[in-house]
Protein backbone atom coordinates (compact mmCIF):
# COMPACT_ATOMS: atom_id res chain seq x y z
CA UNK A 1 0.00 0.00 0.00
CA UNK A 2 1.32 3.40 -0.98
CA UNK A 3 0.07 6.12 1.31
CA UNK A 4 -0.30 9.51 -0.33
CA UNK A 5 -1.37 12.60 1.52
CA UNK A 6 -3.41 14.44 -1.13
CA UNK A 7 -3.30 17.87 0.49
CA UNK A 8 -0.60 19.37 2.68
CA UNK A 9 1.08 22.76 2.86
CA UNK A 10 4.58 24.18 2.49
CA UNK A 11 6.14 27.61 2.39
CA UNK A 12 5.36 31.14 3.44
CA UNK A 13 2.16 33.06 2.97
CA UNK A 14 -1.29 33.66 4.40
CA UNK A 15 -3.29 30.77 5.82
CA UNK A 16 -6.02 29.28 3.64
CA UNK A 17 -8.16 28.97 6.74
CA UNK A 18 -10.04 31.88 8.28
CA UNK A 19 -9.36 33.94 10.29
CA UNK A 20 -6.29 34.47 8.16
CA UNK A 21 -2.83 34.73 9.63
CA UNK A 22 0.73 34.71 8.40
CA UNK A 23 2.15 31.23 8.15
CA UNK A 24 5.47 29.61 7.35
CA UNK A 25 5.19 25.85 6.88
CA UNK A 26 8.50 24.02 7.00
CA UNK A 27 8.65 21.24 4.38
CA UNK A 28 11.53 19.42 6.11
CA UNK A 29 9.48 19.04 9.26
CA UNK A 30 6.51 17.97 7.16
CA UNK A 31 8.52 15.16 5.59
CA UNK A 32 9.78 14.06 9.00
CA UNK A 33 6.28 13.92 10.38
CA UNK A 34 4.95 12.12 7.33
CA UNK A 35 7.53 9.38 7.74
CA UNK A 36 6.60 9.04 11.41
CA UNK A 37 2.92 8.83 10.47
CA UNK A 38 3.54 6.11 7.86
CA UNK A 39 2.86 8.35 4.87
CA UNK A 40 4.93 7.63 1.78
CA UNK A 41 4.32 10.70 -0.34
CA UNK A 42 2.86 14.11 0.36
CA UNK A 43 1.24 16.51 -2.10
CA UNK A 44 2.25 20.01 -1.11
CA UNK A 45 0.71 23.30 -2.02
CA UNK A 46 1.62 26.88 -1.13
CA UNK A 47 -0.48 28.87 1.33
CA UNK A 48 -2.23 31.96 -0.07
CA UNK A 49 0.30 34.25 -1.67
CA UNK A 50 0.52 37.60 -3.41
CA UNK A 51 3.02 36.04 -5.82
CA UNK A 52 2.01 32.59 -7.03
CA UNK A 53 4.68 32.24 -9.71
CA UNK A 54 7.32 32.55 -6.97
CA UNK A 55 5.37 30.34 -4.57
CA UNK A 56 4.99 27.64 -7.23
CA UNK A 57 8.68 27.85 -8.07
CA UNK A 58 9.45 27.33 -4.36
CA UNK A 59 7.16 24.28 -4.22
CA UNK A 60 8.88 22.88 -7.28
CA UNK A 61 12.33 23.42 -5.77
CA UNK A 62 11.35 21.68 -2.54
CA UNK A 63 9.89 18.74 -4.45
CA UNK A 64 12.92 18.33 -6.69
CA UNK A 65 15.08 17.82 -3.59
CA UNK A 66 12.92 14.86 -2.46
CA UNK A 67 11.02 13.67 -5.53
CA UNK A 68 10.35 10.27 -3.96
CA UNK A 69 8.60 11.95 -1.04
CA UNK A 70 6.96 15.11 -2.35
CA UNK A 71 4.51 15.94 -5.12
CA UNK A 72 4.05 19.59 -6.02
CA UNK A 73 0.78 21.37 -6.69
CA UNK A 74 0.56 24.84 -8.25
CA UNK A 75 -1.75 27.61 -7.09
CA UNK A 76 -3.25 30.37 -9.18
CA UNK A 77 -5.65 33.19 -8.64
CA UNK A 78 -7.96 33.04 -11.66
CA UNK A 79 -9.11 36.64 -11.40
CA UNK A 80 -5.94 38.43 -10.30
CA UNK A 81 -3.75 36.54 -12.76
CA UNK A 82 -6.25 36.51 -15.61
CA UNK A 83 -4.71 36.30 -19.06
CA UNK A 84 -1.45 34.78 -17.86
CA UNK A 85 -2.60 31.54 -16.25
CA UNK A 86 -2.50 29.27 -19.27
CA UNK A 87 1.08 30.09 -20.05
CA UNK A 88 2.25 29.96 -16.45
CA UNK A 89 0.52 26.69 -15.70
CA UNK A 90 1.86 25.12 -18.87
CA UNK A 91 5.40 25.86 -17.77
CA UNK A 92 4.76 24.86 -14.18
CA UNK A 93 3.48 21.45 -15.26
CA UNK A 94 5.89 20.78 -18.14
CA UNK A 95 9.08 22.33 -16.76
CA UNK A 96 8.61 22.52 -13.00
CA UNK A 97 6.91 19.15 -12.63
CA UNK A 98 3.84 20.33 -10.73
CA UNK A 99 0.96 17.88 -11.00
CA UNK A 100 -2.25 19.72 -10.16
CA UNK A 101 -3.51 23.24 -9.61
CA UNK A 102 -5.30 24.78 -6.67
CA UNK A 103 -7.61 27.62 -7.59
CA UNK A 104 -7.53 30.58 -5.19
CA UNK A 105 -10.92 31.93 -6.16
CA UNK A 106 -13.71 30.68 -8.39
CA UNK A 107 -12.18 28.92 -11.42
CA UNK A 108 -12.48 30.75 -14.74
CA UNK A 109 -12.73 29.29 -18.23
CA UNK A 110 -9.10 30.21 -18.71
CA UNK A 111 -7.95 28.16 -15.72
CA UNK A 112 -10.22 25.23 -16.54
CA UNK A 113 -9.24 25.19 -20.22
CA UNK A 114 -5.61 25.05 -19.17
CA UNK A 115 -6.23 22.29 -16.65
CA UNK A 116 -8.21 20.38 -19.24
CA UNK A 117 -5.44 20.61 -21.84
CA UNK A 118 -2.78 19.64 -19.32
CA UNK A 119 -5.06 16.94 -17.89
CA UNK A 120 -4.35 17.94 -14.31
CA UNK A 121 -6.78 17.87 -11.39
CA UNK A 122 -8.14 21.16 -10.03
CA UNK A 123 -8.35 21.64 -6.29
CA UNK A 124 -11.02 24.13 -5.34
CA UNK A 125 -12.45 25.00 -1.95
CA UNK A 126 -15.13 27.64 -2.50
CA UNK A 127 -14.68 30.65 -0.29
CA UNK A 128 -18.14 31.64 0.80
CA UNK A 129 -20.17 33.28 3.47
CA UNK A 130 -20.37 31.50 6.80
CA UNK A 131 -23.25 29.06 6.74
CA UNK A 132 -23.28 28.51 2.97
CA UNK A 133 -22.38 25.07 1.62
CA UNK A 134 -20.13 24.38 -1.40
CA UNK A 135 -22.94 23.14 -3.69
CA UNK A 136 -23.73 26.29 -5.63
CA UNK A 137 -20.07 26.84 -6.49
CA UNK A 138 -19.59 23.44 -8.11
CA UNK A 139 -22.59 22.82 -10.37
CA UNK A 140 -21.53 25.08 -13.25
CA UNK A 141 -17.85 24.20 -13.30
CA UNK A 142 -18.37 20.46 -12.88
CA UNK A 143 -21.05 20.26 -15.59
CA UNK A 144 -19.30 22.59 -18.05
CA UNK A 145 -15.94 20.81 -17.68
CA UNK A 146 -16.83 17.12 -17.36
CA UNK A 147 -13.29 16.09 -18.31
CA UNK A 148 -11.67 18.14 -15.58
CA UNK A 149 -11.34 16.27 -12.31
CA UNK A 150 -12.07 18.44 -9.32
CA UNK A 151 -10.91 17.83 -5.77
CA UNK A 152 -13.12 19.44 -3.15
CA UNK A 153 -11.05 19.60 0.06
CA UNK A 154 -12.19 18.95 3.62
CA UNK A 155 -15.20 16.87 2.53
CA UNK A 156 -16.65 20.21 1.44
CA UNK A 157 -16.59 21.94 4.82
CA UNK A 158 -13.38 22.88 6.62
CA UNK A 159 -13.57 21.93 10.30
CA UNK A 160 -17.16 20.77 9.76
CA UNK A 161 -18.32 24.32 10.29
CA UNK A 162 -21.75 23.29 8.99
CA UNK A 163 -23.04 19.73 8.68
CA UNK A 164 -24.95 20.55 5.50
CA UNK A 165 -21.73 21.60 3.78
CA UNK A 166 -20.64 17.96 4.06
CA UNK A 167 -24.04 16.74 2.87
CA UNK A 168 -23.85 19.02 -0.17
CA UNK A 169 -20.38 17.68 -0.96
CA UNK A 170 -21.65 14.10 -0.81
CA UNK A 171 -24.50 15.01 -3.15
CA UNK A 172 -22.10 16.68 -5.58
CA UNK A 173 -20.07 13.50 -5.82
CA UNK A 174 -23.22 11.48 -6.46
CA UNK A 175 -24.23 13.82 -9.29
CA UNK A 176 -20.90 14.48 -11.02
CA UNK A 177 -18.43 11.71 -11.85
CA UNK A 178 -15.58 14.24 -11.97
CA UNK A 179 -15.72 15.41 -8.34
CA UNK A 180 -13.48 13.92 -5.62
CA UNK A 181 -13.39 14.73 -1.92
CA UNK A 182 -10.35 14.97 0.30
CA UNK A 183 -10.56 14.07 3.97
CA UNK A 184 -8.35 16.67 5.68
CA UNK A 185 -9.66 18.84 8.50
CA UNK A 186 -12.97 17.20 9.26
CA UNK A 187 -14.33 17.91 12.75
CA UNK A 188 -17.31 15.60 12.67
CA UNK A 189 -16.25 12.15 11.57
CA UNK A 190 -19.75 10.87 11.02
CA UNK A 191 -19.93 12.65 7.66
CA UNK A 192 -16.77 10.90 6.56
CA UNK A 193 -18.38 7.64 7.66
CA UNK A 194 -21.41 8.54 5.53
CA UNK A 195 -19.15 9.32 2.58
CA UNK A 196 -17.32 6.02 2.93
CA UNK A 197 -20.62 4.17 3.14
CA UNK A 198 -22.53 5.93 0.37
CA UNK A 199 -20.01 7.09 -2.25
CA UNK A 200 -17.92 5.17 -4.78
CA UNK A 201 -14.72 4.45 -2.81
CA UNK A 202 -12.47 5.78 -5.59
CA UNK A 203 -13.81 9.31 -5.04
CA UNK A 204 -12.43 9.76 -1.53
CA UNK A 205 -8.81 10.86 -1.06
CA UNK A 206 -6.91 10.77 2.20
CA UNK A 207 -5.48 14.18 3.11
CA UNK A 208 -4.13 15.68 6.31
CA UNK A 209 -3.91 19.43 5.65
CA UNK A 210 -0.68 19.29 7.64
CA UNK A 211 1.12 21.06 9.14
CA UNK A 212 -1.86 23.30 9.80
CA UNK A 213 -3.46 20.16 11.23
CA UNK A 214 -1.84 17.06 12.71
CA UNK A 215 -1.11 14.28 10.22
CA UNK A 216 -1.67 11.60 12.82
CA UNK A 217 -5.27 12.75 13.30
CA UNK A 218 -5.79 12.57 9.54
CA UNK A 219 -4.50 9.00 9.39
CA UNK A 220 -6.50 7.95 12.44
CA UNK A 221 -9.69 9.41 10.94
CA UNK A 222 -9.46 6.94 8.06
CA UNK A 223 -8.42 4.03 10.27
CA UNK A 224 -11.52 4.55 12.41
CA UNK A 225 -13.70 3.84 9.38
CA UNK A 226 -12.65 0.16 9.69
CA UNK A 227 -12.77 -0.39 5.93
CA UNK A 228 -11.77 -3.52 4.08
CA UNK A 229 -8.04 -3.54 3.28
CA UNK A 230 -8.81 -2.85 -0.41
CA UNK A 231 -10.99 0.18 0.29
CA UNK A 232 -8.59 1.45 2.90
CA UNK A 233 -5.68 1.24 0.48
CA UNK A 234 -7.71 2.98 -2.22
CA UNK A 235 -8.56 5.95 -0.01
CA UNK A 236 -5.11 6.14 1.56
CA UNK A 237 -3.28 6.54 -1.74
CA UNK A 238 -4.27 4.48 -4.77
CA UNK A 239 -7.07 6.85 -5.75
CA UNK A 240 -4.78 9.86 -5.68
CA UNK A 241 -2.10 7.93 -7.53
CA UNK A 242 -4.59 7.22 -10.34
CA UNK A 243 -5.71 10.83 -10.45
CA UNK A 244 -2.12 11.97 -10.84
CA UNK A 245 -1.19 9.25 -13.32
CA UNK A 246 -3.79 10.51 -15.75
CA UNK A 247 -2.11 13.86 -15.67
Amino acid sequence: MTVIDAHALAGKGISWAEPQREVNYDPAELVERSIAAGIDRVCIVSPRSADYPAANQYISNVCSRQPERLIGIAVHHPQREAGRIRQMLDAEVKSLGLRAVRSDGHPTRELLDAASELQIPVIYYPNRKRGAGPGRWYHMIASTYPHVRFILPHLGEYCSETWWGHMEALDLVRRYPNIYLDTGGIGSLKYLELAAKELPPERILFASFAPELDMRVGVESIRLLHLSPERHAAIMGENMLKLLRNS
Partner: protein, 274 residues
Protein backbone atom coordinates in the same frame (compact mmCIF):
# COMPACT_ATOMS: atom_id res chain seq x y z
CA UNK B 1 -30.18 15.99 52.14
CA UNK B 2 -28.74 14.07 49.29
CA UNK B 3 -25.21 12.88 49.77
CA UNK B 4 -22.32 11.71 47.74
CA UNK B 5 -23.17 8.20 48.82
CA UNK B 6 -26.63 8.43 47.19
CA UNK B 7 -24.97 9.41 43.96
CA UNK B 8 -22.58 6.52 44.19
CA UNK B 9 -25.40 4.13 44.96
CA UNK B 10 -27.19 5.08 41.78
CA UNK B 11 -24.13 5.80 39.68
CA UNK B 12 -22.79 2.27 39.90
CA UNK B 13 -19.90 0.94 37.88
CA UNK B 14 -16.50 2.47 37.76
CA UNK B 15 -17.33 5.66 39.62
CA UNK B 16 -18.34 3.64 42.68
CA UNK B 17 -15.17 1.69 42.72
CA UNK B 18 -13.06 4.73 42.09
CA UNK B 19 -14.65 7.08 44.60
CA UNK B 20 -15.69 4.79 47.43
CA UNK B 21 -13.10 3.80 50.04
CA UNK B 22 -10.55 0.95 50.10
CA UNK B 23 -10.57 0.00 46.46
CA UNK B 24 -8.63 -2.97 45.17
CA UNK B 25 -5.62 -2.30 43.00
CA UNK B 26 -7.63 -2.87 39.83
CA UNK B 27 -10.51 -0.68 40.93
CA UNK B 28 -8.20 2.17 41.86
CA UNK B 29 -7.61 2.83 38.18
CA UNK B 30 -8.85 6.30 37.30
CA UNK B 31 -11.96 5.93 35.17
CA UNK B 32 -12.00 7.43 31.69
CA UNK B 33 -14.81 9.93 31.52
CA UNK B 34 -16.01 11.94 28.54
CA UNK B 35 -17.10 15.27 30.07
CA UNK B 36 -19.23 16.42 27.13
CA UNK B 37 -21.90 14.40 25.34
CA UNK B 38 -25.51 14.95 24.43
CA UNK B 39 -28.48 12.60 24.58
CA UNK B 40 -32.20 12.64 24.08
CA UNK B 41 -34.75 14.25 21.83
CA UNK B 42 -35.60 17.81 20.79
CA UNK B 43 -38.61 19.09 18.90
CA UNK B 44 -37.29 21.45 16.20
CA UNK B 45 -35.88 18.99 13.60
CA UNK B 46 -33.64 21.60 11.95
CA UNK B 47 -30.21 20.24 12.91
CA UNK B 48 -28.93 16.99 14.41
CA UNK B 49 -28.78 18.77 17.78
CA UNK B 50 -32.42 19.87 17.59
CA UNK B 51 -33.57 16.37 16.62
CA UNK B 52 -32.03 13.40 18.42
CA UNK B 53 -28.86 12.22 20.11
CA UNK B 54 -28.82 8.45 20.57
CA UNK B 55 -27.14 7.22 23.77
CA UNK B 56 -26.59 3.74 22.34
CA UNK B 57 -24.52 5.23 19.55
CA UNK B 58 -22.35 6.89 22.21
CA UNK B 59 -22.00 3.64 24.13
CA UNK B 60 -20.88 1.80 21.00
CA UNK B 61 -18.05 4.23 20.41
CA UNK B 62 -17.23 4.44 24.13
CA UNK B 63 -16.62 0.70 24.16
CA UNK B 64 -14.22 0.95 21.24
CA UNK B 65 -12.43 3.94 22.77
CA UNK B 66 -12.23 2.39 26.24
CA UNK B 67 -14.26 5.21 27.80
CA UNK B 68 -15.94 4.13 31.05
CA UNK B 69 -18.53 6.86 31.39
CA UNK B 70 -19.88 9.88 29.56
CA UNK B 71 -21.39 12.99 31.01
CA UNK B 72 -24.63 13.50 29.09
CA UNK B 73 -26.94 16.48 28.90
CA UNK B 74 -29.79 17.47 26.57
CA UNK B 75 -29.50 18.73 23.01
CA UNK B 76 -31.09 22.09 22.08
CA UNK B 77 -34.59 22.68 23.42
CA UNK B 78 -36.37 25.93 24.32
CA UNK B 79 -36.92 24.79 27.88
CA UNK B 80 -35.37 21.80 29.58
CA UNK B 81 -37.55 20.30 32.30
CA UNK B 82 -38.64 17.38 30.12
CA UNK B 83 -35.27 16.99 28.42
CA UNK B 84 -33.55 16.75 31.82
CA UNK B 85 -36.01 14.08 32.91
CA UNK B 86 -35.11 12.19 29.77
CA UNK B 87 -31.43 12.45 30.70
CA UNK B 88 -32.16 11.04 34.16
CA UNK B 89 -34.10 8.21 32.51
CA UNK B 90 -31.20 7.37 30.19
CA UNK B 91 -28.82 7.31 33.19
CA UNK B 92 -31.14 4.87 34.97
CA UNK B 93 -31.59 2.71 31.89
CA UNK B 94 -27.85 2.39 31.23
CA UNK B 95 -26.82 2.37 34.88
CA UNK B 96 -23.14 3.05 35.43
CA UNK B 97 -22.43 4.24 31.89
CA UNK B 98 -23.58 7.84 32.08
CA UNK B 99 -23.39 10.78 34.46
CA UNK B 100 -26.34 13.09 33.89
CA UNK B 101 -26.21 16.87 33.87
CA UNK B 102 -29.13 19.24 33.58
CA UNK B 103 -29.26 21.89 30.92
CA UNK B 104 -31.13 25.16 31.34
CA UNK B 105 -31.77 28.36 29.45
CA UNK B 106 -31.41 31.29 31.88
CA UNK B 107 -33.60 33.45 29.61
CA UNK B 108 -36.56 31.25 28.64
CA UNK B 109 -36.72 29.58 32.07
CA UNK B 110 -35.94 32.63 34.17
CA UNK B 111 -37.24 32.46 37.72
CA UNK B 112 -37.94 28.73 37.63
CA UNK B 113 -34.42 27.35 37.35
CA UNK B 114 -33.50 27.30 41.03
CA UNK B 115 -36.36 25.00 42.03
CA UNK B 116 -35.93 22.79 38.98
CA UNK B 117 -32.19 22.39 39.37
CA UNK B 118 -32.38 21.51 43.06
CA UNK B 119 -34.97 18.86 42.26
CA UNK B 120 -33.00 17.58 39.28
CA UNK B 121 -29.93 17.08 41.44
CA UNK B 122 -31.55 15.88 44.65
CA UNK B 123 -34.27 13.71 43.20
CA UNK B 124 -33.21 12.81 39.67
CA UNK B 125 -29.51 12.35 40.46
CA UNK B 126 -28.13 14.88 37.97
CA UNK B 127 -24.70 16.18 38.92
CA UNK B 128 -23.85 19.23 36.85
CA UNK B 129 -25.23 21.96 34.62
CA UNK B 130 -24.68 22.64 30.91
CA UNK B 131 -25.20 26.21 29.71
CA UNK B 132 -25.21 27.90 26.34
CA UNK B 133 -26.96 31.09 27.42
CA UNK B 134 -25.26 33.41 29.88
CA UNK B 135 -26.31 32.74 33.50
CA UNK B 136 -27.31 35.24 36.18
CA UNK B 137 -27.33 35.01 39.99
CA UNK B 138 -30.35 32.72 40.08
CA UNK B 139 -28.42 29.99 38.31
CA UNK B 140 -24.99 30.66 39.77
CA UNK B 141 -26.12 30.94 43.41
CA UNK B 142 -27.89 27.60 43.01
CA UNK B 143 -24.97 25.75 41.49
CA UNK B 144 -22.70 27.20 44.19
CA UNK B 145 -25.00 25.81 46.90
CA UNK B 146 -25.31 22.43 45.20
CA UNK B 147 -21.58 22.12 44.59
CA UNK B 148 -21.99 21.08 40.95
CA UNK B 149 -19.75 22.01 38.02
CA UNK B 150 -20.96 24.17 35.15
CA UNK B 151 -19.97 23.23 31.62
CA UNK B 152 -20.41 26.42 29.64
CA UNK B 153 -20.27 27.00 25.90
CA UNK B 154 -20.45 30.81 25.71
CA UNK B 155 -20.84 32.80 22.52
CA UNK B 156 -17.44 34.32 23.27
CA UNK B 157 -14.76 33.22 25.74
CA UNK B 158 -14.72 36.69 27.33
CA UNK B 159 -18.20 36.10 28.75
CA UNK B 160 -16.77 33.75 31.38
CA UNK B 161 -14.47 36.39 32.88
CA UNK B 162 -16.82 38.06 35.35
CA UNK B 163 -18.79 35.03 36.48
CA UNK B 164 -15.67 32.99 37.20
CA UNK B 165 -14.31 35.89 39.27
CA UNK B 166 -17.62 36.49 41.11
CA UNK B 167 -18.19 32.79 41.86
CA UNK B 168 -14.77 31.46 42.88
CA UNK B 169 -16.25 28.30 44.41
CA UNK B 170 -18.04 27.31 41.20
CA UNK B 171 -16.02 25.21 38.78
CA UNK B 172 -16.51 26.30 35.18
CA UNK B 173 -15.59 23.98 32.37
CA UNK B 174 -15.19 26.03 29.22
CA UNK B 175 -16.40 23.86 26.34
CA UNK B 176 -14.38 23.17 23.18
CA UNK B 177 -11.26 24.95 24.43
CA UNK B 178 -13.25 28.11 23.74
CA UNK B 179 -13.93 27.54 20.03
CA UNK B 180 -16.32 24.86 18.77
CA UNK B 181 -14.68 23.13 15.76
CA UNK B 182 -11.80 25.61 16.13
CA UNK B 183 -13.89 28.17 14.27
CA UNK B 184 -11.54 30.92 15.47
CA UNK B 185 -8.03 30.10 16.73
CA UNK B 186 -7.96 33.38 18.65
CA UNK B 187 -10.72 32.06 20.90
CA UNK B 188 -8.53 29.05 21.76
CA UNK B 189 -5.83 31.45 22.88
CA UNK B 190 -8.38 33.47 24.88
CA UNK B 191 -9.57 30.29 26.57
CA UNK B 192 -6.04 29.30 27.58
CA UNK B 193 -5.55 32.80 28.99
CA UNK B 194 -8.85 32.60 30.89
CA UNK B 195 -7.95 29.27 32.49
CA UNK B 196 -4.55 30.67 33.43
CA UNK B 197 -6.06 33.62 35.28
CA UNK B 198 -8.91 31.84 37.07
CA UNK B 199 -8.27 28.88 39.35
CA UNK B 200 -11.86 27.69 38.80
CA UNK B 201 -11.84 27.67 34.98
CA UNK B 202 -11.09 24.37 33.22
CA UNK B 203 -10.95 23.63 29.50
CA UNK B 204 -12.81 20.83 27.75
CA UNK B 205 -10.99 19.39 24.74
CA UNK B 206 -13.96 18.30 22.62
CA UNK B 207 -14.45 19.26 18.98
CA UNK B 208 -11.07 20.97 18.71
CA UNK B 209 -9.69 20.55 15.19
CA UNK B 210 -6.57 22.67 15.69
CA UNK B 211 -5.05 20.18 18.10
CA UNK B 212 -1.89 22.23 18.64
CA UNK B 213 -3.95 24.37 21.02
CA UNK B 214 -4.75 21.32 23.18
CA UNK B 215 -1.02 20.71 23.34
CA UNK B 216 -0.34 24.35 24.15
CA UNK B 217 -3.01 24.34 26.87
CA UNK B 218 -1.56 21.26 28.56
CA UNK B 219 1.96 22.62 28.45
CA UNK B 220 1.11 26.10 29.65
CA UNK B 221 -1.59 25.32 32.20
CA UNK B 222 -0.68 21.82 33.34
CA UNK B 223 -2.83 18.72 33.04
CA UNK B 224 -4.89 19.77 36.07
CA UNK B 225 -6.84 22.35 34.07
CA UNK B 226 -7.66 20.19 31.07
CA UNK B 227 -10.65 17.85 30.89
CA UNK B 228 -11.25 15.39 28.09
CA UNK B 229 -14.55 15.81 26.26
CA UNK B 230 -15.92 14.98 22.82
CA UNK B 231 -19.32 16.53 22.03
CA UNK B 232 -20.76 13.12 21.16
CA UNK B 233 -22.70 12.06 19.21
CA UNK B 234 -21.98 14.89 16.72
CA UNK B 235 -18.23 14.50 17.28
CA UNK B 236 -16.57 11.09 17.50
CA UNK B 237 -15.11 10.32 20.94
CA UNK B 238 -12.70 7.81 19.41
CA UNK B 239 -10.93 10.56 17.48
CA UNK B 240 -11.18 13.05 20.34
CA UNK B 241 -9.47 10.66 22.75
CA UNK B 242 -6.80 9.97 20.12
CA UNK B 243 -6.04 13.70 20.16
CA UNK B 244 -5.16 13.39 23.87
CA UNK B 245 -3.27 10.11 23.50
CA UNK B 246 -1.06 11.46 20.74
CA UNK B 247 0.31 14.07 23.15
CA UNK B 248 2.12 11.13 24.78
CA UNK B 249 1.91 12.63 28.24
CA UNK B 250 3.20 10.96 31.39
CA UNK B 251 0.58 8.46 32.56
CA UNK B 252 -0.48 10.43 35.63
CA UNK B 253 -1.08 13.58 33.62
CA UNK B 254 -3.04 11.70 30.99
CA UNK B 255 -5.19 10.09 33.68
CA UNK B 256 -6.06 13.48 35.11
CA UNK B 257 -7.18 14.76 31.72
CA UNK B 258 -9.09 11.60 30.82
CA UNK B 259 -11.07 11.41 34.05
CA UNK B 260 -9.23 12.30 37.25
CA UNK B 261 -9.86 16.02 37.10
CA UNK B 262 -13.58 15.66 36.44
CA UNK B 263 -13.89 13.02 39.12
CA UNK B 264 -12.44 15.48 41.61
CA UNK B 265 -14.90 18.21 40.59
CA UNK B 266 -17.85 15.81 40.81
CA UNK B 267 -16.73 14.88 44.32
CA UNK B 268 -17.64 18.38 45.54
CA UNK B 269 -21.33 17.65 45.25
CA UNK B 270 -23.16 18.64 48.42
CA UNK B 271 -26.80 18.50 47.40
CA UNK B 272 -29.20 20.78 49.17
CA UNK B 273 -32.26 20.50 51.36
CA UNK B 274 -35.25 21.30 49.17
Amino acid sequence: MSSRRDFLAQGGGVMVAALAGTPTQAARRTPMIDCHAHAGHAPALTDPWTTIADPEEILRRNREAGIDQSVIFPISNDTFEKANQEIAGICRKFAGHFIGYAKHDPETEKGRIRAMLIRECNELGLRGLKLHVHPGPEVLDTVAELGIPVIYHPARVALIEEISRDYPTVDFILAHLGADMSYDWREHLAAIEMARRHQNVYLDTGAVVLTRYIEQAVHELGAEKIIFGSDEPEVDCRLEIFKIRMLELPKLQEEKILGGNLQRLLGKYRGKAA
